[in-house]
């Protein structure tokens, strides 16, 4: 249902594209490694990494499992706050703070997922939205820890020391490659998951949930696991985002972010491996250009988004893939 507009061509085709697809992790990472060389704004480039990773996590649930969540800001924000609080309040090193952010994201996903996967379609979207709003207000209230409305400040990681070598994260390029290391691991893991038997199981659930159950797939457990995995990738993105900005704004938990990750995924191409990063690049580039030219930049983003959904429902990458496969 969600992916009914995808390629109608036969699946058999052997071209250079399939070679790229076979080494998709490497292809993504080469493209991302080269990004700062062509992108003059290095801070924007880091945003593309973190938001692209967030969209990858979202895409695992939305594009591959067929479940539309409107509450993924909760996991992005939990990752950001979990990591940020560990650094800002407890002075923990980054290599402990990031797993703590992941842990908080996983905990929330286990709770929210257990409630939300009982419903389907638009009801699932609404339940995730409602529960994510609960998380938002809990973090707003716990202002001793989170800084409330003012956000969390002092998430400072000045340098990374590895085996006696010191990399200063003040240098935006160094920060970019620091974040890229995590993105690389995550993307490699995601690729592995999608190629595993579980990857086949989630696609079967997306294509036809009832048939999948009749075939013996344990649909609710599959959905639950996909939900938690998706949240883990989102939380990692949030944690890296916190380190990147040195602060966590309450905005990270807001439904705008949940909407934004959906837009990024749709822009890039849902259910495609490269799509989330292409979408993040497009979205943030449009945002960057539009904010510098007119006051109501959301207007421009909205127009572009509507045009894409109407005329290129497969998203930028999905459409390009379609052309190249012809």
């Amino acid at each position: 249902m969600l992916a009914a507009h995808r390629l109608k061509s036969p699946l058999k085709a052997s071209s250079w594209l399939d070679q790229v697809a076979r080494h998709r992790t490497a292809a993504v990472l080469i493209a991302l490694a080269l990004l700062p060389l062509v992108m003059p704004y290095h801070s924007l480039a880091v945003n593309i990494l973190t938001f692209g990773l967030f969209a990858c996590g979202f895409n695992l649930l939305f594009g591959y499992t067929g479940m539309l969540s409107f509450g993924h800001a909760a996991f992005f924000g939990a990752g950001a706050y979990g990591c940020g609080i560990a650094i800002a309040h407890y002075g923990l090193p980054w290599w402990l703070a990031i797993p703590l952010g992941l842990g908080l994201g996983a905990l929330l996903a286990l709770l929210i997922g257990a409630l939300a996967i009982r419903s389907r379609g638009i009801y699932f979207a609404m339940v995730t939205l409602a529960l994510a709003q609960c998380v938002y207000f809990i973090f707003l209230q716990a202002s001793d820890l989170t800084g409330g409305d003012n956000g969390l400040r002092g998430v400072n990681v000045d340098a990374v020391v590895l085996g006696g070598l010191r990399f200063s994260l003040i240098d935006p390029i160094a920060k970019y490659y620091f974040v890229l290391v995590f993105v690389a691991l995550a993307v490699a893991l995601l690729s592995r998951i999608l190629r595993s038997p579980f990857g086949a199981a989630i696609e079967a659930v997306r294509e036809n949930e009832h048939r999948a159950a009749a075939c013996g797939f344990d649909v609710s457990t599959i959905k639950y696991l996909a939900f938690v995995l998706s949240a883990l990738f989102s939380a990692l993105a949030g944690a890296l985002h916190a380190i990147h900005l040195s602060t966590v704004a309450l905005e990270a938990l807001s439904y705008h972010i949940s909407g934004q990750v959906l837009m990024v995924t749709l822009l890039g191409g849902m259910g495609t491996f490269f799509g989330p990063f292409v979408g993040a690049l497009a979205f943030l580039a449009i945002e960057h250009i539009a904010t510098n030219t007119i006051q109501y930049w959301q207007f421009v983003v909205g127009i572009v988004f509507i045009a894409l959904v109407l005329f290129f429902p497969r998203g930028i990458w999905g459409t390009l893939l379609g052309w190249m496969r012809r």
Partner: protein, 250 residues
């Protein structure tokens, strides 16, 4: 008298609110035989089938599969126990390739939560899937997406999906629905072949189609068991004649 029954229904009842779709149905399905459930539209055939396949939970009564009570089992367990169903309405994975449709159904019996091993290394599932596609004569179309198949071919894929779990009990809900006469002949031929190696239960409302190939016939009418027996007994049954010939004339 647990002789040769693979499936036993005891006073099986299904209500939807006030409406009683199945009422006190008690039947025994014999192992290794081809049993057909017939009855006019609305007789409760599909409801009965949906309870046996786990899609519906009975309101009361019991279902025993190989002596095991099916009550309360989650739906996905039915396939693992050895019960599989091919659906009346074509029900495949539309955007997956024909091969991947069957391959994932085969895989479902063995592994679902393995996040690590590449599927490309699990070649045995592909081999089983290809053998099944060979059997339903879809092997040449294995690289097409399922939604690109003609209607009759999708029905065949449907059967291959049901066979993927190598079921002991194969339930087929109007497998020839919407098929051309040629396709119907081929499907009936396939069904008789399948019935030689496993227990098959067929739901059909075309009485003529099943009389020649079935070992046993169960007749439902208004949600109740009207008659059960060998085809010849059913043909001679006055009540069945009245229900069938009186109403639709089939």
């Amino acid at each position: 008298m647990n002789d040769d029954a693979i499936l036993v229904a005891e006073r099986l009842t299904k209500k939807f609110g006030e409406f009683v779709a199945n009422k006190d149905i008690s039947v025994r399905v014999r192992r290794g035989k081809l049993t057909s459930i017939i009855g006019p539209n609305g007789a409760g055939k599909s409801t009965f089938f949906n309870m046996v396949s786990g899609a519906l939970v009975p309101s009361s009564g019991r279902l025993l599969f190989e002596g095991r009570d099916l009550n309360g089992l989650p739906r996905h367990r039915f396939a693992r126990l050895g019960i599989a169903k091919s659906f009346q309405i074509t029900n495949v994975f539309p955007l997956l390739s024909v091969l991947e449709n069957v391959r994932s159904a085969v895989q479902a019996q063995h592994t679902q939560f393995n996040l690590w091993t590449p599927r490309a290394r699990m070649t045995e599932y592909v081999r089983v899937a290809e053998a099944l596609l060979e059997r339903v004569e879809l092997i040449d179309k294995r690289h097409l997406r399922a939604h690109q198949l003609a209607h009759g071919e999708q029905r065949s894929l449907e059967v291959a999906l049901a066979l993927a779990s190598d079921p002991k009990l194969l339930l087929m809900d109007e497998p020839t629905a919407g098929m051309s006469p040629e396709e119907t002949v081929a499907m009936m031929h396939l069904i008789t072949q399948l019935a030689r190696e496993r227990t098959v239960v067929l739901v059909e409302h075309k009485m003529k189609l099943v009389m020649g190939i079935s070992d046993r016939i169960i007749v439902l009418h208004h949600g109740e068991l009207l008659a059960e027996g060998a085809p010849d007994d059913i043909r001679a049954n006055e009540e069945v004649k009245r229900v069938y010939l009186g109403s639709s004339g089939q």
